[in-house]
Amino acid sequence: MKNVFVQGAITPDFIANSISKHQSKTTIGAHDIFLGQVRADVIDGKTVTAIEYTAYEEMANTKFDEIRESAFDKFDLTCSHIYHSLGTVKAGELCLFVFVSSPRRKEAMKALEYLVETIKAESPIFGKEIFEDQSHQWKVNS
């Protein structure tokens, strides 16, 4: 089973390397990528400076496997990768990287939307929003 979790923010270099690794797979005609970035939300006058992510890791890795497998069943994909941060990710840094590749663009785009929405709804990942004054609240996906 793949380990999806990365300690800290996902870097732009990591993403570029991931793209490079796929250049040898010449049946691919389209990649679609989603990047989730921590947003500096303002809540009751306080600004989010970071999110600290934790997860029920064993269940999340199994769930990510299931989600990937179901994307391969539903869509014509060559490749699919999911990476999510654990630990502290500052506002402006990346916490989620979903990468799909297909011979054709329409399949890649549909699969990406399916993957991102399913990940956000079904993965046991938890986010503590940390404010500039070090107080916090717990994030809930909408």
């Binding site: 989730g36 986010g127 503590k128």
Partner: protein
Amino acid sequence: MLIIIRYFGMLVEQTFKQQETLEVSENSTIKSLEETLLSKYPLLKNSSYNIAQNQKIVPKESVLSNGDELAFLPPFAGG
């Protein structure tokens, strides 16, 4: 029989622990376990969560087995 209970996210702040082991009687259900824990940790009553049994979210009528791992999962926030 012994079961393991794990807490995540905001629930750790309400139980002051990440994990514990509990002795329960044969034929206990998730519901009966939940009732025990709600009286032990009253702050949980104000929280929203799902309960997973061995990494699957199941109905609360589900019967517990020796060695089960139960996880209390607050709302998800991935991505």
